[in-house]
Amino acid sequence: MSLRKPFLFSSVIVAAIALFFLLRPQKKEIVYSEWAPIVGEIKTAHEIPEAERAKSACFQTYSRLYSKPDLHVAVIFGYKDARPARFVGDRYERLMLIEQLLQSCPDDRSLCGFTRDEDDAETFHKTIKGLDKKSRKIVLQVMASAVSPDDDENKKDPFQLWQSERTSKNFIAAIQKADVVLYNGHSRDGGGPDFAPPKLANRNHVSYSWYQSKRPGVALLEQGLKEKSYRASLLGLFSCVSENHFERILSTERTRLATITQKNLVYYAEALRQVTGTLTALLGMWCEPGFQSAIQAESKGGTASLKGFFKN
């Protein structure tokens, strides 16, 4: 047998393997602006003609969401350590969002023009027009968990204990008293959400076995949802693989609590863009295609999963 036939056979096998990698779904190219989402044509609930409103899921959803004089939104950053490094980033991420909130609104952007409460650094206000043209007051609470960027220092600081306890309590209170709750933080492999310095294993790595066993964050979620008259109608969990980690508890509430969760691991800048995208879409009353694009933080496709929000 000549060498030519085995070589040709090997070439065909290699070509098949190459074609498989060519044709497999590629990770999507992420293209987005600094913080605001890049989307295509945006339709809002304001633009829906009167004759179509009764059947429009977009119009009906925002009518319900904005049915009260105030819309309460809570954005709560979990303790975003980068263990085994000492760096903790949520305090800075919160500030990046706040800088955007406090900017004046030069065009038709919606995530801007807020004023901060005089005695509460974590509460911001703005007035917008509802679908009935009457004013709605937006009360936006933005909290972080870390008191400094250094996890070793935070563990020694009594201010950290005070802040973590408050943030945990406010997360539960937000589910009960706010219309929209957005968590941006760690999933702790299903033991989150988490608002405190992490429990560590050896060599300063997070002890995921502890979180999987104790699941402290899930207990917080359950406590928030336990009071059956809770107000939240949308809960966003912008943390790694949250769709999988928290599906059990969220699926029991699906008829009354819409959710935004993550299918995959999520990079911090992407999660922050997803939060700003969600807020932009909610305040602008974007209909589903634009809303979906905004929460993905990129122009097409992504990892965020929206369930149960748009309905008649």
């Binding site: 290699v14 760096f87 800088e99 005695d119 509460d120 400094s148 005070w162 800048a269």
Partner: protein
């Protein structure tokens, strides 16, 4: 008919275009994955051709956060001049975190001087509040001395987070010291925080009070009278917890 050599070349080319991810996909594996994945990603990035040019271009795009993570993870000292130049316009502050990652014993003083120059000039608000807070936090952790007049100015910033970072700076420079070793102006700043709005600043000052030794506490105890009329529930709880 295609020669076997040509076919082999085409196959190798096709495989190289599909199997080997670009720097972006590799960089995304620097966070959220296991330590071994992170180590392999770092190795792979070190072997990426023309990486510096790619990162320089990325700094001007929304992909800059990923580029900054790569520069930090690979400790690319050669990129420090680019970061310093770029940081002047970076409203997000993320560039300063990358500069911090590249700070060594050898360049520490230069970085501290750069931060002091930018933070203490009258036009500091042009560089963004997040950037100001990151620089002040860094000076705090370096225990870099600032003039007490400068710290007082920062305590009067119109931005709450800058005032909070100034109090954090004071914490770093005063903890572990006796009252005779602490600049009186710093204690004045703590007293000022007890009476300030928003309430989060009052709570932060209370927590700092708790950490002080008894002689410093004695110096400040009269200023805790505000606790008796404090309206905010969480600060009343902090008064109860930290005052005694």
């Amino acid at each position: 008919m295609i020669s076997s050599n040509a076919a082999l070349y085409v196959l190798v080319f096709l495989i190289s275009q599909t199997v080997f991810a670009d720097w972006v996909q590799t960089a995304l594996r620097l966070t959220g994955e296991s330590e071994s994945v992170r180590r392999k990603s770092i190795e792979s990035l070190r072997n990426e051709s023309a990486l510096e040019d790619k990162l320089r271009n990325a700094l001007k795009t929304p992909r800059k956060f990923l580029a900054l993570d790569v520069i930090s993870a690979l400790k690319m000292q050669s990129m420090l001049p680019d970061l310093i130049a770029y940081s002047g316009d970076d409203q997000s502050g993320a560039t300063y975190l990358a500069i911090n990652a590249l700070t060594t014993v050898g360049n520490r003083n230069d970085v501290a001087e750069l931060y002091k120059r930018r933070l203490l000039r009258p036009s500091r608000d042009s560089i963004g509040v997040t950037s100001q807070v990151i620089m002040l936090d860094t000076l705090a952790r370096m225990k870099e001395p600032l003039h007490s007049r400068q710290v007082k100015e920062l305590m009067l910033s119109p931005h709450f987070e800058v005032r909070s970072a100034a109090l954090y700076y004071i914490r770093h420079l005063t903890l572990g010291k006796k009252v005779t070793e602490i600049e009186p102006a710093f204690l004045e700043c703590v007293r000022h925080a007890f009476k300030s709005s928003p309430y989060q600043l009052r709570a932060q000052a209370l927590a700092l009070y708790k950490e002080y030794p008894n002689d410093v506490k004695s110096e400040l105890s009269d200023d805790l009278a505000f606790c008796d009329s404090e309206k905010e529930e969480s600060v009343r709880a902090a008064c109860k917890e930290f005052r005694h």
